[in-house]
């Protein structure tokens, strides 16, 4: 009853000036986001300093995009996504190198393997809330790291997994030289395009609306009838699947899986890329991957202390540009 007295008067009219109406450009960017993204990625190898860097942007872009599904769109800050990236890479490498599985089968197995790991880690960690979730995913992913280190007969342990170079890819009678950087880029580009389409598919779907609702207001979403835990778990697994795809791409690209892919610093790097580019924007993760890798490349050319620059830039983004490069661009320029 005191409540009525303490509340300040509230203007009745809606502040329509603050309301944001989508312009035609923004609408076009959203409707054509998959094709526009693919077009942009097609140009990448010709504007970047090296083809290997371009492939890395593809790999880490897909990785950050998968992560963004969970972080940007579902609102869960996982610090353990290196586990799924690594699982995809390891399963692919082991399938090719130790079981002689053809590359396409190995990619499929890698994605499934990463998805299963995501199901296990997700089932354990979804039960926890908020900051706790971040720490639990981090610790469980470190468990995976140490298991991979110990299981060296499968993973190569600290030495890394090797001996599965894919030199050529045969599709429908065509033989593509996979050692040629340009051919490799465009083959992996197909995977990236698939991932782009898949994520766009999810975001357009009713499920995409559900995870956004959970990010916006978990309590409300639950009251509306969403099984929040189950929805989060599905999102976690979908995110894990895409990150695992990035892992298989990385394995095919480098023909080597370093143990470091599972380390928590890889998870941290994914978070940094996603945030730099812009969490909860569709193309942001690719922009973030590009920005991060370019910074690393350029700064590490002229100082071995490049991490102090990258770290500082990241801090500035957290403080002043939480929407990231692409997110800010969309908000300021396009709107």
């Amino acid at each position: 009853m005191e409540r009525d007295m303490t509340v300040k008067s509230i203007p009745l009219a809606a502040t329509s000036s603050g309301a944001r109406k989508a312009t035609d450009l923004a609408a076009a960017l959203t409707n054509w986001r998959v094709l526009l993204s693919i077009a942009a990625l097609c140009l990448l190898p010709w504007v970047l300093p090296s083809k290997a860097l371009a492939v890395n942007v593809l790999v880490y872009g897909v990785l950050a995009m998968g992560y963004n599904l969970l972080f940007g769109y579902t609102g869960l800050l996982s610090f353990g996504h290196a586990a799924f990236f690594g699982a995809g890479a390891y399963v692919t490498g082991i399938a090719i190198g130790q079981f002689g599985v053809p590359w396409y089968g190995a990619v499929l197995l890698g994605v499934i393997g990463g998805g299963l790991l995501a199901l296990a880690i997700g089932a354990l960690s979804i039960r926890t809330r908020g900051i706790y979730f971040s720490m639990v995913t981090l610790a469980l992913a470190q468990l995976v790291y140490h298991v991979a280190l110990q299981a060296s007969s499968w993973t190569g342990g600290e030495n890394g997994l090797r001996g599965f170079t894919v030199a050529k890819i045969d599709i429908a009678g065509f033989s593509i030289n996979f050692l040629d950087p340009v051919s490799k880029y465009y083959v992996l580009m197909v995977f990236a395009a698939l991932a782009l389409w898949f994520v766009s598919r999810i975001l357009n779907s009713p499920f995409g609306a559900a995870i956004e609702a959970i990010r916006e207001n978990e309590t409300r979403a639950r009251t509306c009838g969403y099984d929040v835990e189950r929805t989060k778990l599905i999102s976690f697994v979908l995110s894990g699947l895409i990150c695992a795809l990035a892992g298989t791409m990385s394995a095919l690209h480098l023909a080597f899986v370093p143990l470091d892919v599972l380390h928590y610093q890889t998870s941290g790097m994914i978070v940094m890329m996603t945030l730099l580019g812009g969490a909860s924007s569709f193309f942001g993760p690719f922009v973030g991957a590009l920005a991060f890798l370019l910074m690393e490349d350029v700064f590490s050319l002229w100082t071995s202390h490049w991490q102090i620059i990258v770290g500082s830039i990241f801090i500035l983004f957290v403080l002043f540009l939480p929407k990231g490069i692409w997110g800010t661009f969309l908000a300021r320029v396009v709107r």
Partner: protein, 416 residues
């Protein structure tokens, strides 16, 4: 570019220098975009971990690799062609190093690759080079690279391997009837060292009283010490690397182990001795590929040291630094013999090469391309016995190079 790398070589970069670098950054920013003009320069790629815990070793490697290049260029290069070293930061991460190596091959069109410090990074680089038929000279200590599975026609291993190091150390440190306890890092490199020691023990007649594995990167060894002490060994062999070596030796000393037993390591690391101090390392015995004091007995070491001192303000080359010199020099000598950069010819020249650039006679064995070389056994000095800031060790043995101390070609999986 080389100026940039030389900047890296300096131990410490002041903040002001870093800011000045920022100012000059514009030109560097443009660097990667500049397509390399097709000229006849001989380009050698050099991935090394300038970032991370082994940056000091990496910088030493860069310095001595650049010295090797400079000495050749001063004499007019190879067949009139200048040689250039392209240093890239592998960040002690296999994925990074593989990417940098891909760039070196695909974009910079290097004629050969030398480098790597950790076993994993070396294997990652090797995976890239051997698939593309590019010569790679590894300077990372490892047994794995010798084995058939990871070998290739184009892969050479200039560094020592744990098998030869442990054999030399054991021959010096173990006596018949000694009881030996092992503390081993639980990963490939640790297991390789353990295997080497146990083989040598069997030949000498020393007995193993126990072996404990520890997780790699462990900061605390206190829970292992009671068991090690209970084994009552004469000798404690600690088979691990880097920070692990520093931590485990330090804690063994804290637990009073040195009063009861002798501490032996496969490789006595210059930078870890620097990091932990003379008191802790005093009396510890271990192997090394190079120690600057060799100059008192060996002319080639003297020449190398003098050139290094001249180029680096009087500093001495360290163990890992020397690998940069011997590794790059062997490649340059082979290129000279082959009269250019034709891969097949250079491979043939490397296989036939006999060289002595810093540590006595060396050559690559035919089957696994392992560099057959001398192995030093060092003992860490008491603080009171040190004659200078860099006077860390006594050379207690200099094992002559011999193929006999290597695992046989057959054992490695090569046809006899």
């Amino acid at each position: 570019m080389n100026d940039a790398i030389r900047n890296l070589g300096q131990r410490k970069i002041s903040r002001r220098a870093a800011l000045a670098g920022l100012g000059a950054g514009a030109s560097f920013l443009a660097m990667p975009w500049v397509a390399r003009a097709a000229d006849d320069t001989i380009r050698i790629g050099f991935p090394t971990p300038l970032t991370g815990p082994y940056a000091a070793e990496a910088k030493d490697q860069v310095k001595s690799a650049e010295l090797a290049i400079k000495l050749v260029n001063d004499k007019g290069g190879i067949g009139g062609r200048k040689v250039e070293l392209l240093v890239r930061d592998g960040k002690l991460n296999g994925g990074e190093a593989a990417t940098r190596t891909l760039e070196l091959i695909e974009k910079d069109k290097v004629h050969a690759v030398v480098g790597a410090l950790s076993s994993a990074v070396q294997l990652a680089v090797n995976e890239v080079t051997r698939a593309r038929g590019v010569i790679y000279i590894s300077i990372s200590q490892s047994d794995t690279i010798n084995e058939k599975k990871d070998s290739s026609k184009y892969t050479f291993h200039e560094a020592m391997n744990p098998h030869m190091t442990t054999a030399a150390v054991a021959r010096h440190a173990f006596k018949k009837g000694n009881k030996v306890a092992h503390l081993v890092a639980d990963y490939a490199y640790g297991h390789e060292m353990l295997r080497g020691f146990k083989r040598a023990q069997a030949a000498i007649g020393a007995e193993t009283v126990g072996e404990l594995l520890h997780p790699i990167g462990a900061p605390d060894y206190s829970t292992l010490m009671p068991r090690l002490r209970a084994m009552k060994p004469d000798i404690l062999c600690i088979s691990n690397f880097g920070r692990d070596q520093a931590n485990s030796i330090k804690q063994a000393v804290d637990f009073g182990m040195k009063q009861q037993m002798k501490i032996v390591v496969p490789v006595l690391l210059h930078n870890q001795r620097l990091a932990v101090g003379p008191e802790v390392f005093e009396g510890v015995v271990g192997g090394a590929n190079y120690y600057w004091e060799l100059e008192s007995k060996l002319p080639s070491a003297k020449t190398f040291n003098d050139a290094f001192r001249a180029a680096n303000g009087g500093a001495i080359p360290t163990d890992y630094g020397a690998y940069g010199f011997t590794g790059v020099s062997s490649l340059l000598l082979a290129m000279q013999a082959a009269g250019g950069t034709d891969t097949e010819k250079v491979v043939a020249a490397l296989e036939g090469l006999k060289y002595d650039v810093a540590k006595g006679a060396q050559h690559y064995r035919k089957c696994d391309h392992q560099s057959v070389q001398s192995v030093l056994v060092l003992e860490s000095k008491k603080k009171a016995d040190m004659k200078g800031a860099n006077d860390f060790f006594n050379i207690v043995e200099n094992e002559a190079p011999s193929e006999d101390v290597l695992r046989s070609c057959k054992e490695l999986g090569f046809p006899a």
